[in-house]
């Protein structure tokens, strides 16, 4: 057993209490991340894990990190997650049934093996030296100590990280930024265009899908007064994808009931 009890007095018992209260909560929250269906719930649980960790950091004399963990990590990074989740659809939920054959047993076996072995190994580890504690290192203050290292010893990686930040920004731009390649016509122009066209048939707007048909799904074309389908009532994308139904089956009086709802 690793003999690493920090013998620096007062904080000991309170820390143990803190640990034994929060650690199970942390693990539970982490496990919860795996088990909940909705992504947004996972995110909340993740945030709680992070907050708990921040507490642990502070408890371990890493005051600066604890604050950063909450402010930057939980506050900013997790919010980014949530933000994206909203974008993708906050209601989106996973089915928890596994579709890849054999993956779940493998994952469970690996997890139990990995976790178990890790715990067992840590239990066996000895360092051959005593745990020191951060009193000395933090003597001038935790923030000062870190700053000292950060701006002298680790100035090079610190500088290089800036490259990382630029990369991230650049990357986000590349993937998300829409350059306006063509000028979008304004409402006014569109309107003018409608009335100046060859025909006034569409001047009043296009028919909605499903009008006069026996079915009003978006992929069922509207029927014109003469009963023929109106192709332009369907979204161009659907047409392009070939998802438009032939409206024949939905024409008045020609419904093939045997087909039912089937597309």
């Amino acid at each position: 057993m690793l003999d690493l009890a920090i013998s620096v007095g007062q904080t000991q018992t309170p820390e143990a209490v803190l640990f034994w209260v929060l650690a199970p909560l942390t693990v539970a929250a982490a496990l919860g991340m795996l088990l909940v269906k909705k992504a947004v719930h996972s995110a909340i649980l993740m945030a709680s894990v992070m907050v708990n960790l921040a507490v642990f950091y502070i408890a371990q004399d890493a005051l600066f990190l604890g604050i950063v963990q909450i402010v930057v990590y939980t506050g900013a990074v997790m919010m980014l997650f949530l933000f994206i989740l909203m974008l993708v659809g906050v209601d989106s939920s996973d089915s928890l049934t596994e579709t890849i054959t054999g993956l779940r047993p493998i994952a469970i076996v690996a997890a139990v093996g990995f976790g178990g072995l890790m715990v067992s190994l840590i239990g066996r580890a000895t360092l051959g030296r005593n745990a020191i504690g951060l009193e000395a290192a933090n003597s001038l203050g935790n923030v000062q100590g870190i700053a000292q290292l950060l701006f002298s010893r680790y100035v090079w990686p610190f500088e290089v990280v800036s490259a990382l930040l630029i990369t991230a920004a650049l990357g986000a731009m590349v993937l998300a930024h829409h350059q306006s390649i063509q000028v979008r016509p304004t409402q006014r122009q569109l309107s003018t265009q409608r009335f100046r066209g060859k025909s006034l048939a569409n001047a009043a707007g296009l028919p909605a899908p499903g009008v006069f048909a026996r079915h009003n799904a978006v992929d069922v074309p509207a029927l014109l007064p003469d009963g023929t389908p109106a192709a332009n009532s369907i979204n161009a994308t659907l047409q392009a994808r070939g998802d438009m139904l032939t409206s024949g089956t939905f024409e008045l009086g020609k419904v093939d009931t045997s087909k039912g709802e089937e597309k």
């Binding site: 890790m118 190994l121 580890a125 680790y154 100035v155 490259a163 990382l164 630029i166 991230a168």
Partner: protein, 505 residues
């Protein structure tokens, strides 16, 4: 505590600084320059930075320093060699990247949308790839010269992030390209988590995050080695992931296939140099005295990697995937250089990395040339009769394949020979034998492609070979020359490497 202001040796850091500077100029160009001027400017800036950095590397070739950046960077012979290799490989890769045909004009546009079509017609280019490339190169340059865990980790990310992005920028088959980016990114992050976790345990073991400190702890002993072992294992996972060793290889075929071919070339060649460079440094200096612990692990992984890569490549139907598996197999061969743990092994690995990198870029350069109306044709069945249609391209590709297969008079052979003999010298015979056998398996699929190109009649399906642009030609011709020259007269390069290949600690 007094704050002592940091001292950086800018001369030694200059190659990296030049690249980072070039990248930032590139970003500024992106921001302020008109679209029409960007491609040329970006290319010039990129090539200029690379050349300048290379010159700078040449100038510091005899320098040795442990304290170039407050102990974060070590500059020594191998460092120079690795940086030079990376720069040369990057240079010829950038020449490929310069062909706008490979990149989507607008990454944000939906695949197949009007917007994308318009963007294509407008002749737009994502010139952002240039600064991204420079960032990646800078990261790669830093990776093998890092001398503490922080720098190592930061360098790892600096080289990875741009690559994740670049993988998703393919012009054709956008969905596949985006998928490649996603897979690369997720798995990369996953593996870097392992890497970091391992670093934590090394720190726990040695109470230091510098290589020197860890090395001293390894040499000095004290306590038991559980933390060290865990640290080595997880750190290795991260490194082995980057080099594409089994079972951490799974990303590479998919990413190689999905990414734009110039990016594939770049990452296949340069990343390998960087990752192996770092591995060599770490295993040769930091963990050298714990050889008993990692040597068996690496041996098994090396054997599995070579055999798996060679074997699976046989059944591939896509050129890029096949080259990906070939690269996995080569990762196995390169691991033997790490296992060797002697000077010969280091020299051999450095030679192998350079030779393999150049050949790889050359091979992918050829892949970019075979096209039909919808872009590159990577289906091997449509490479049939290439030798008839455009003999020179086919001959060039065959030369690269023969080099991969390790046929004498190509650089691949000298590489294989030197790396295997180094491994044998260190007593790792099982690896050598496995290497030899899997070379035989590997030869099978290289030859299959040659058969396809030369001995099968062409199918008229619109596949044609683009007349290479002058930039691509430079890449191909340079690669051919290096591949042959290193096979026939490797002595100068070997000597050069031999003089420099000593790690300082």
């Amino acid at each position: 505590m007094e704050f002592s202001s940091p001292v950086l040796n800018y001369t030694l850091l200059s190659p990296m600084l030049i690249l980072l500077g070039g990248a930032i100029i590139g970003v500024l160009v992106e921001a302020f320059m008109s679209k029409a001027l960007r491609p040329f400017t970006q290319l010039s800036v990129t090539l200029g930075s690379l050349v300048l950095a290379l010159v700078q590397v040449w100038r510091i070739r005899n320098e040795q320093s442990l304290s170039a950046a407050m102990g974060s960077v070590v500059i020594d012979g191998p460092a120079v060699l690795m940086q030079a290799s990376i720069l040369i490989i990057s240079l010829i890769s950038v020449l490929l990247i310069a062909d706008a045909e490979h990149f989507t004009p607008l990454a944000a546009a939906l695949p197949g949308s009007d917007e994308e079509r318009h963007a294509m017609q407008s002749g737009n280019q994502v010139t952002e790839v240039y600064p991204l490339t420079l960032f990646a190169v800078a990261g790669m340059m830093l990776f093998p010269v890092s001398s503490d865990l922080i720098t190592l980790f930061v360098a790892l990310e600096v080289l990875s992030l741009p690559l994740y992005l670049m993988a998703g920028l393919s012009r054709r088959r956008r969905l596949a390209s985006q998928e490649a980016a996603l897979k690369y990114f997720l798995l990369g992050a996953f593996s870097s988590a392992f890497f970091l976790f391992g670093a934590a345990f090394l720190y726990g073991y040695s109470s230091s995050i510098t290589f020197t400190g860890i090395r001293n702890a390894v040499v000095g002993g004290g306590g038991n080695d559980v933390f060290l072992l865990i640290g080595i294992a997880f750190l290795s996972v991260g490194l082995l992931f980057k080099v594409g060793a089994v079972p951490f290889h799974a990303w590479s075929p998919d990413v190689y296939q999905g990414a734009p071919t110039p990016v594939t070339a770049f990452m296949a060649a340069a990343t390998k140099v960087a990752a192996f460079g770092a591995m060599l440094r770490i295993y040769y200096t930091v963990f050298a005295n714990a050889q008993w612990s990692w040597s068996p692990m690496l041996t098994i992984i090396a054997i599995i990697t070579m055999v798996f890569g060679s074997l699976v490549a046989i059944a591939q139907r896509d050129v890029k995937r096949m080259l990906a598996y070939s690269s996995i197999a080569h990762a196995g061969f390169l691991l033997t250089g790490v296992i060797a743990l002697n000077k010969a092994g280091l020299e051999a690995s450095l030679f192998y990395l350079f030779a393999y990198g150049i050949t790889t870029v050359g091979a992918f350069a050829i892949v970019t040339l075979v096209r039909d109306s919808a872009g590159e044709v990577t289906d091997l069945n449509r490479w049939k009769g290439l030798g008839k249609r455009s003999p020179w391209v086919a001959i060039a590709f065959a030369t690269f394949l023969l080099s991969f297969a390790g046929i004498p008079l190509t650089s691949g052979f000298i590489g294989k020979f030197s790396i295997f003999s180094a491994a044998y010298e260190s007593g790792a015979r099982s690896v050598v034998i496995a290497g030899v056998l899997s070379s035989a398996i590997a030869a099978f699929f290289y030859i299959r492609v040659i058969v396809l190109m030369f001995f099968t009649d062409p199918v008229e399906d619109g596949t044609s070979v683009e007349i290479p642009s002058s930039l691509t030609s430079i890449t191909v011709i340079f690669s051919i020359i290096v591949t042959i020259a290193l096979g026939v007269f490797p002595a100068p390069v070997l000597n050069f490497i031999s003089n420099l290949a000593t790690f300082i600690r």
